[in-house]
Symmetry: C2
Subunit: 192 residues, 2 copies
DNA sequence: CGCGTAATTGAAAAGTATCAACACTGGTGG
DNA sequence: CCACCAGTGTTGATACTTTTCAATTACGCG
């Protein structure tokens, strides 16, 4: 549930070392609960997460949030918008203090054109996003809340300490009340 | 709900005209209810759909199917597997008679490396897949079955004639019984 | 006609949402 | 030092939605 991509991060940081002071790339630190992107706005930058934890979510017309993904080190966001040249469709908010590399969208696209290794890494990253979404949603659809919680626990054993309850509920697409009931059930069964 | 990509299809067909008899690319016709890919197998080819309609679905350990997408003209499948170099995670089955271009995976990756336009089209295609999945699943999560049916109807007005009921249910991730109840409700309300 | 597949329907059980009240925690200011 | 507040987490009762199970009908085709 928390996506990471160490290969891309380390490639990118090596790239920065080889090309000192690349213009078009900056490092930025966000505090807890800051917004990095806001849904339905234009982006200036594509971001690569160096450290920290963020949530990427979509707010629907009735104000309900649905969390797409939690992103950790090496995650990229804004690349979809840069490639499609459209507005953002998600909001990205920090859960912890977070360091990001901000790459100007124009520069990102240039890099994508000119740097084969980077191009391949982004192709793989996008493919992984499609794959991960497919797997997650199908599991999600075909199982009840408690099963989904156990599935999360396998990936992030201490998820209850890391992720706020409301965010967890928004990730699973259920109400807080139902989440709490499921957690209680699992605790009673000593599975959690 | 039925994805198409005319831009890619027409680019690809022009490419075929410019490069007659490209080895590594074949056209193949599948009849109704044939399997093009089977989940958890290795692919030989990436497919571009010329005409027809297929469903792409994932079967879970308990035998339940979840339909990821219905694909129409210009859709590509197998590209994720070719890029990630992994087994298939979906089964692709024809709903109607279908013509596909089959591109050997190795050749597909070569094309991706060497042909900038093709590379860009695939980057956009993957980005669109991520975007579409995000939008679909969030809508799906945050709305009840009837709303989802109305949403489908906007895109494909005659979906009830085109898509078998069981497939529709598997697409929405609900049981056939629930789908039928929702359809009845909408019919009574004259919304369908 | 008979067979298999797809579609339909009812009743009961299971799962989830809604609403509303209450508990815990860490500030902040009088 | 305590009262208050906002944010976060917890719980119960009830209503609603969806699933499960089972029985029945409709349709296409050899």
């Amino acid at each position: 549930m928390i996506r990471e991509n160490i290969e891309l991060l380390s490639y990118f940081e090596q790239y920065l070392i080889r090309n000192k002071e690349v213009k078009g790339i900056k490092k930025h630190i966000y505090e807890k609960n800051e917004e990095i992107f806001v849904q339905n706005s234009y982006i200036k930058n594509v971001c690569i997460l160096k450290s920290g934890l963020v949530k990427c979510f979509l707010t629907d017309e009735s104000g309900k949030d649905f969390i797409q993904e939690f992103f950790g080190a090496g995650s990229v966001f804004g690349e979809i918008e840069a490639i499609r040249n459209t507005q953002t469709f998600c909001t990205v908010t920090t859960i912890t203090t977070t360091e990001v590399y901000e790459i100007e969208a124009v520069f990102f696209n240039k890099l994508l054109q000119e740097n084969k290794k980077f191009n391949t890494l982004i192709l793989q990253l996008l493919s992984n996003k499609v794959y991960n979404k497919a797997m997650r949603y199908s599991y999600h659809q075909l199982h009840i809340i408690t099963d989904n919680l156990l599935q999360i626990k396998e990936n992030v054993p201490d998820f209850l300490e890391i992720i706020p309850k409301q965010d967890l509920a928004n990730y699973l697409g259920v109400t807080l009340r139902s989440l709490n009931r499921a957690v209680t059930t699992l605790k009673n069964e000593r599975k959690i």
